[in-house]
């Protein structure tokens, strides 16, 4: 099962749904996470207030980002940390590769960082003959399988126990057919422990970077970021430049929101605060742009950079739950991915803003109040204006717009056997019509409402 990056969302989703029992399981598993989130959120009377604060702090930070980034750099340097700036993914990868080369490093562990996924770090290092070991359990599983993560918080959520058992049997020599989660986790733990001990370099992500202190916070449930960073002689933390918050006290807002939104936990098991390298250790921070300043310049989309990657919008999204993360063919899937990725590559990701019913549930769960579904709608307008929508759709909608602007023509079309074909081009009664594939057409009534009105009311 390899990642097919060429399929558009609708096609990939259709393939996913072909296995209906698995789709049901995927939907129910993530719905369960959503319910845990609800319970945690509804348990805090100040929940909506926290969201508002988080949103305001992030809005403020984004409007003053240049200052905060420089303040952060200054303070981090004063703490003895080396700060690197990367324009794009390639830059980011090169910076890390240079550090690896300079120190002649062989053994690398990496805790979860969606940014390194976005930049394709593993693949890049692989082409240089260097292997990184992902130490987040879910990430390790998908790494063994040569797949990208399908979810930013639960990377292997598309896999069932049986799949994990098969994968571990193949790569860790566990007993075939033993699906016991405890047994499998223990096998992974032993395997990873070895990797931690051997490691020379630990790469981590960053959840929050604090301008005032130059420190940063990494949140995990497995403690794998700490295991890595504490064992290796070099620690590189990679962050998109939007991870910034002004002050340490603001963490009290974000740490309360993050885990509750993500999994319904009050806080992540480990919220580790890094400030300076320990004796004899080197610490680096790579701050990455990779299209973020372009997004910051788009008035309609800039506040997508408020995102704290909690994945609540994934778990609540009825489309995501039924199409799986891989159908979004990007490192960050789900609703937020659908408003971030067109900025990175409009042509390749033009399908994503359409992979939504605009139900709005994403915007409601978002702990930093990103107007996700409104941005999906706005991206659709941009993509059409820029010509990234296929012609059949365009022709159909143009015809429809023409008709609906002309009351007489509209009524005439309607009279032609309730002229579905011209009025609602997608409601044609034939086998090629996607509506008809699994749904009946509405039965055409004898008269339209307007005809009835004229007969009975005028």
């Amino acid at each position: 099962m390899s990642h097919t990056s060429t399929l558009k969302h609708a096609e990939a989703a259709a393939q996913f749904i072909n296995d209906e029992p698995r789709t049901n399981w995927h939907d129910e598993t993530l719905w369960f996470v959503r319910q845990k989130r609800d319970k945690a959120a509804h348990g805090l009377p100040e929940w909506e207030q926290l969201r508002e604060w988080a949103s305001q702090i992030k809005n403020h930070t984004l409007s003053n980002l240049d200052n905060y980034l420089l303040e952060f750099e200054r303070n981090a340097k004063a703490n003895g940390v080396t700060v690197h700036w990367a324009m794009d993914g390639a830059d980011h990868n090169r910076i890390i590769y240079d550090i690896i080369q300079k120190n002649n490093i062989q053994k690398i562990v990496k805790s979860k960082s969606m940014l390194t996924e976005e930049c394709g770090l593993n693949e890049f290092l692989h082409t240089k003959g260097i292997e990184t070991v992902d130490t987040d359990l879910g990430e390790r599983i998908v790494q063994f399988r040569n797949e990208p993560p399908s979810h930013i918080v639960l990377p292997a959520i598309h896999l069932k126990k049986q799949d994990v058992s098969d994968t571990f049997h193949e790569h860790l020599n566990t007993e075939k057919g033993n699906n016991d989660p405890q047994y499998l986790t223990e096998a992974a733990r032993q395997h990873l422990r070895e990797k931690f001990i051997e490691s020379e370099l630990a790469i981590t992500g960053v959840n929050f970077a604090v301008a005032e202190t130059g420190g940063f916070v990494v949140c995990t449930n497995e403690g794998n970021a700490d295991m890595g960073a504490h064992a290796a002689k070099i620690h590189i933390a990679c962050m998109g430049f939007e991870k910034m918050i002004p002050k340490a006290e603001h963490l009290s807002v974000f740490l309360r929101l993050l885990a509750r939104s993500a999994t319904g936990q009050p806080i992540t098991t480990y919220s580790s605060h890094f400030h300076k390298p320990r004796e004899g250790q080197e610490m680096h921070i790579v701050i990455v742009d990779n299209g973020r300043s372009r997004q910051l310049g788009r008035a309609d989309f800039r506040n997508s950079l408020k995102c704290i990657r909690c994945a609540a919008c994934f778990n609540t999204c009825p489309v995501y739950r039924r199409s799986g993360g891989h159908s979004y063919h990007t490192a960050v899937a789900g609703p937020i991915g659908s408003i971030l990725n067109p900025n990175i590559d409009m042509r390749a990701n033009a399908d994503l803003p359409f992979a939504s019913t605009l139900c709005g549930s994403c915007s409601n769960v978002c702990p930093v109040k990103i107007d996700i579904h409104d941005q999906l709608w706005k991206w659709r307008q941009v993509l059409v204006a820029e010509g990234y929508v296929d012609t059949t759709k365009k022709v159909g909608l143009k015809g429809m717009a023409f008709l609906l602007a002309r009351p007489r023509l509209y009524r005439f079309a309607g009279k032609m056997g309730r002229g579905v074909m011209r009025l609602f081009p997608w409601l044609v009664n034939n086998k090629l019509n996607p509506w008809y594939k699994q749904r009946e057409m509405p039965a055409p009534p004898k008269q339209s409402f307007r005809d009835w009105y004229l007969q009975n009311k005028k």
Binding site: V319, T357, C359, L397, R418, W435, R439, P445, F449, Y453
Partner: protein, 258 residues
């Protein structure tokens, strides 16, 4: 809330423009008839502007908002001069509220944006209906359509930490004999989503099937809601699968004779 601003207008003095979305006009005239009769029963003076077509939403939600300009113009010329515009579709009403513009008649477009109401919100907020002479002795499941709920705030939303309420439920509770059943996921999307229903056919149908299964586990006889588009989608799936469960617009229930 514009209810208070007009609370001095008696129902019979209210000039209500009846907005019947294009697919209701063409496929579900009974929904239009029920809406009209219900509003008249409640004493409103209702007229149906004869040259109306569509709110422009199908184009706009597909990324072609630029194409809906003439549609908007037509809407404004049909619906100017009413105290209220009422339509039995949350999704079309939301679209109008958010996107109706007319460069030549900006004031009139604005008046419409501020005075266009979805049927149940009009009944609850403007007419302040407290009892209905309706009876519908069946087990009914309510489908909260997303645009009505999250867009127009017709009811509280499961994601938010805010007090619970529901305008459609409030009205259904006034109907004699009706046994209301809420699905276990009270506000999950049905998967219609405008052109999503064909461009993302697989996901759309799967979402619809799942909503139906949720309602079916309550052994409902009808699924109702305020959006005919959602109901048309669910009905299409129910019929294809030979189900006995029927769909019915909330206007038809509220107008059903005792």
């Amino acid at each position: 809330m514009h209810a208070d601003e007009h609370s001095h207008i008696k129902n019979e003095q209210m000039k209500v423009g009846l907005f019947i979305p294009c697919y209701i006009d063409q496929f579900y005239p009974n929904v239009g008839i029920a809406t009209l009769q219900l509003l008249e029963k409640l004493g409103c003076h209702v007229s149906f502007p004869l040259n109306q077509t569509c709110c422009g939403q199908p184009m706009a939600n597909s990324g072609f908002a630029s194409l809906s300009k003439s549609c908007d113009k037509n809407f404004v010329s049909n619906f100017r001069g009413f105290d209220y515009i009422v339509g039995p579709s949350g999704s079309c009403v939301l679209h109008l509220k958010e996107h109706l513009h007319d460069e030549q008649h900006p004031g009139e477009a604005e008046h419409i944006r501020k005075h266009v109401y979805e049927l149940t919100e009009f009944l609850v907020d403007v007419l302040k209906v407290e009892k209905l002479n309706a009876s519908f002795p069946y087990k009914v499941g309510l489908h909260n359509s997303c645009h009505g709920q999250r867009g127009l705030h017709l009811s509280s939303m499961s994601e938010r930490n805010l007090p619970a309420f529901s305008k459609p439920q409030q009205l259904l509770n006034m109907v004699q004999g009706l046994e209301l059943k809420m699905p276990s996921r009270p506000d999950e999307c049905c998967g219609f989503g405008g052109t999503f229903c064909v461009f993302e056919e697989a996901v759309s149908v799967k979402m619809g099937k799942d909503r139906i299964a949720d309602h079916a586990s309550n052994e409902v006889q009808y699924i109702t809601g305020g959006d005919t588009s959602c109901l048309m989608h669910l009905e299409g799936i129910l019929k294809r699968n030979g189900s006995k469960v029927k769909t019915i617009h909330i206007a038809e229930i509220l107008n059903s004779n005792a």
